[in-house]
Amino acid sequence: MTKTKRFASASALAAALSFGITALANAADTIKVGILHSLSGTMAISETTLKDTMLMLIDEQNKKGGLLGKQLEAVVVDPASNWPLFAEKARELIEKDKVAAVFGCWTSVSRKSVLPVFEELNGLLFYPVQYEGEESSKNVFYTGAAPNQQAIPAVDYLMDDLEVKRWVLAGTDYVYPRTTNKILEAYLKSKGVAEEDIMINYTPFGHSDWQSIVSEIKKFGSAGKKTAVVSTINGDANVPFYKELGNQGLSSEDIPVVAFSVGEEELSGIDTKPLVGHLAAWNYFMSVDTPENEAFIDTWHGFIKNDDRVTNDPMEAHYIGFNLWTQAVEKAGSTDTDKVVEAIIGLETPNLTGGKAVMLKNHHITKPVLIGEIQDDGQFAVVWETDAEVPGDAWSDFLPGSKDIVADWTPPISCGNYNSVTKKCSGQNY
């Protein structure tokens, strides 16, 4: 009489075991590329686009004949905005699906969650989002901006061109804004800005009621000195923030806001009329007029079958990362991690803004810094840009803990965390 039950329990367990045992061995004819972006949960808003971007890039590459004579095959998984699940999925991609490289992650915490997995299993991760720095792993390539490629140039612009004297550093309470604001605070003070001219404010994720904070900013800004807000507010909490700014009558002429997390995609969710003139600092804007960009946008519209879709900075980062990876694989003649890691350093590929992206020894890349003003059509007009590409700096010079640390993945140092004073390499997992 208990046969059924026993059978059911047994089969549940057998099922649980089976997916581990049946390791697929048919990876010979294709090269697998893992895509690790959340397709559900809170981060799906931003990350789904990157999944589509990767599918498009892989598709294009296959049309060009693939890589090393093989077709590329995308393996898409959904880590569902759940950080432990990121680690699990990363392990699944490397260990079970045997992917050659993974393109993925958005938030810092998701990267931190998968980092030990990539280092343990010697996988490859291309991380496409601007981040707080203070990290350089052998197995990760950071194709987004480090703080010195976004925050500091933006502040320079505000200081020199808009003569801003008083600063509001507003951010979401997590590690990227915290670090960026720490760096900026140190930087501003080094430029002679007084303590009382800096206001720092943190809000939780998805904060939607900005009335009090905007009112405080308004008061802070009415002291007679030109005031600006440097916003590290996370993605879509910006929309109600900007709406409140507009409603309380703070225009970009009164108090300009420069944001590091607001791009075309975030703006496509709002009516940008009240935001015209606010700023964003990125390494790419959709409005940049270059043939490469035009081609990229056309391909994107064709792939996604919707001409209203926008492109943004992390998409460009994936574009660069993917091109660098394919080049490195071709150069190394193999998808083996160690060979690719060795081959990729020093490679360069055109970016979409008319320059070149070079993979540096610290696994970051060179990027131009552009500052754009929001237009009423949801696009940015570039008002300032750096003369040349800025090399990404993994360890900030403005933080006391990291100013002596450098990352260099070429011999003799071969370390992401090398203390140039004590000549020691610390914090590595092997």
Binding site: I45, S208, Q211, K219, S222, G224, K243, G249, E265, D271
Partner: protein, 543 residues
């Protein structure tokens, strides 16, 4: 301002222009003005930031009455260059492309396609300059309200020439309010006067003026003032200002609290029906709100020309959509689960996952844009420190209307009577001839429909995306439980008081800590009153 002028390589020219402006102010030399206008327009046509800047200065200094229209259009980014002949036009989008207007004569000048025109780009620096320029020109505008706005605008950026202009105009000004504004500006400048008596006089004139520039000015005066008498007066005036400020600040906090409370009440009130009256732990409530917000988006997409009207139409549409989905959920799932309230939680949780993913799949995983009609944006300026934002006022009003309507439905209609009967004693109600199945479906539909209506309101405040519901569901449950399950008044009072408490705590505790404190407060409050603010009393509540 003057120091900056000297930095530029063109400073000599500018200095000359400055003199010219001063001359113009007195002489009204129309001919010279129009020459400057021409010259300025030529510079604007170059479409290079620094040259446009020069051009704007020239156009503004022409004091030509035609300049205002041109500059205002440039400020709004409506000024275009026709590629064919290099002429400037004000262009507005129309069906056929763009309708053109001559910027100087304001006469219609035909139409043009998108590719025929090139917009004159402006940046922040230019916008700032344009604002001052337009304000200066508007000081002589025939409309008093425009002049007032211009004066207030200029208080922030007083310099030698604008002051000279204000002194000149103040005497002739007929409108009392505008004149008061001008006097204040002059007084503000007089704070820097050499004679202490004039400083005191200026202080007296500024007493009670809440404009932020005034406080800053007096503060700076105090920082350097040596004269005791002036110091005393300044301190007294400042103290008075501070008191007023605190008072208005409190009013503002209260307003913020009420508007946050209204959002909470709107989000929770549908739940007060489905959860409070029917006992269904409806985890899909947030997604019903989300559907309402998406309905707003779709209605707006259907009639992009009439954003405001679409918003009004969205209210019944959202009610119907969310209500229908609600009825579907009730008939399909919940009706099998009456008497098992905790299991409704599981089923509706599943439904909420499905609805979220459905929206992601059918519409887009990204947020969708919902436009605010013009009358929703901006604020009602009561004085320089207190302004109430329009959208929040509409939300408060809307919340009260929805509440009243719902209250009347529950109290005055036969549906309401039947709902209350069924919720109190299902068997008895059925014996009395109430078709309880129909009532259940309608009640759940009503609660869901109200959630949809709340979604319309929220679409005006926050992001419309698949996660919209998630961010409100927990707060909604807190409000309903805090107010007392099954009591509409409780929901209203609870939502409003939580909103106000949150906003009072926020300035000193920060947004996160304030929210944590409110949650702890709710937990402790429930210990004290295990059935909420307004518990249902007597035998009916037992068991």
């Amino acid at each position: 301002m003057p120091t900056r002028l000297l930095r530029s390589p063109l400073s000599a020219l500018r200095l000359w222009l400055l003199v010219a402006l001063a001359l113009c102010a007195f002489a009204q030399a129309a001919l010279a003005g129009s020459a400057e206008l021409e010259q300025g327009i030529a510079l604007i046509k170059t479409n290079k930031y620094d040259q446009v800047e020069e051009g704007v200065t020239l156009v503004a200094s022409s004091r030509d009455p035609r300049a205002v229209g041109l500059l205002a259009a440039l400020q709004d980014s409506d000024l275009y260059l026709r590629k064919a002949d290099g002429r400037l036009f004000i262009a507005t989008r129309s069906d056929a492309g763009y309708d053109l207007i001559d910027p100087l004569t304001q006469a219609p000048a035909g139409t043009a396609g998108k590719r025929d025109l090139k917009r004159i780009r402006i940046n922040n620096r230019l916008r700032s300059q344009l604002r001052t320029a337009v304000a200066t020109l508007n000081l002589t505008h025939p409309e008093a309200s425009v002049r007032l706005a211009a004066v207030n605008e200029m208080l922030d950026r007083l310099d030698a020439d604008s002051l000279a202009l204000l002194r000149d105009l103040a005497g002739d000004e007929k409108n009392a309010e505008v004149r008061a504004g001008m006097t204040a500006a002059i007084a503000l400048a007089d704070l820097n006067a050499d004679e202490p008596a004039r400083r005191i006089e200026a202080l007296d004139q500024l007493e009670g003026n809440l404009h932020p520039a005034v406080q800053g000015g007096i503060q700076r005066l105090l920082d350097r003032e040596q004269d005791e008498a002036v110091r005393a007066t300044a301190e007294r005036v400042l103290e008075g200002l501070q008191f007023k400020r605190d008072l208005y600040g409190f009013a503002e906090t209260l307003f913020f609290g009420l508007s946050l409370g209204s959002v909470l009440v709107l989000a929770a009130i549908g739940l007060a029906i489905t959860f409070g009256v029917m006992g269904v732990i409806n985890m899909a409530h947030g997604e019903l709100i989300m559907l309402g917000a998406y309905t707003t988006y779709i209605v707006q997409q259907l009639m992009p020309e009439h954003i405001g009207l679409a918003l009004f139409l969205a209210i019944p549409a959202a009610f119907v959509v969310s209500g229908a989905v609600g009825i579907l959920i009730e008939r399909g799932v919940i009706r099998f689960l009456y008497g098992r309230p905790l299991e409704t939680l599981l089923a509706t949780f599943g439904i909420s996952l499905i609805l979220q993913q459905l929206v992601r799949t059918l519409i887009s995983p990204q947020n969708v844009p919902v436009a605010n009609p013009d009358w929703m944006s901006g604020s009602w300026q009561i004085n320089s420190v207190l302004s109430l934002t329009m959208n929040r006022m509409y939300i408060i009003a809307f919340c009260l209307i929805v509440f009243t309507a719902l209250y009347l439905v529950m109290r005055r209609t036969s549906l309401g009577l039947q709902v209350r009967a069924v919720s109190q004693n299902r068997a008895m109600a059925r014996a009395m001839g109430v078709r309880s199945a129909r009532v259940d479906a309608l009640t759940f539909g009503l609660g869901s429909g109200i959630a949809g209506v709340a979604g319309v309101a929220l679409s005006q405040l926050t992001n419309v995306g698949p996660n919209l519901g998630q961010s409100y569901i927990i707060d909604s449950f807190m409000v309903v439980v805090f107010g007392g399950v099954g009591n509409l008044w409780g929901t209203l009072v609870a939502g409003m008081s939580l909103g106000v408490v949150n906003k009072i705590l926020e300035p000193w505790a920060g947004a996160v800590l304030a929210k944590i404190l409110v949650l702890i407060f709710i937990i402790l409050f429930i210990q004290k009153r295990p059935r909420g603010l307004f518990p249902q009393k007597g035998r009916a509540a037992e068991g």
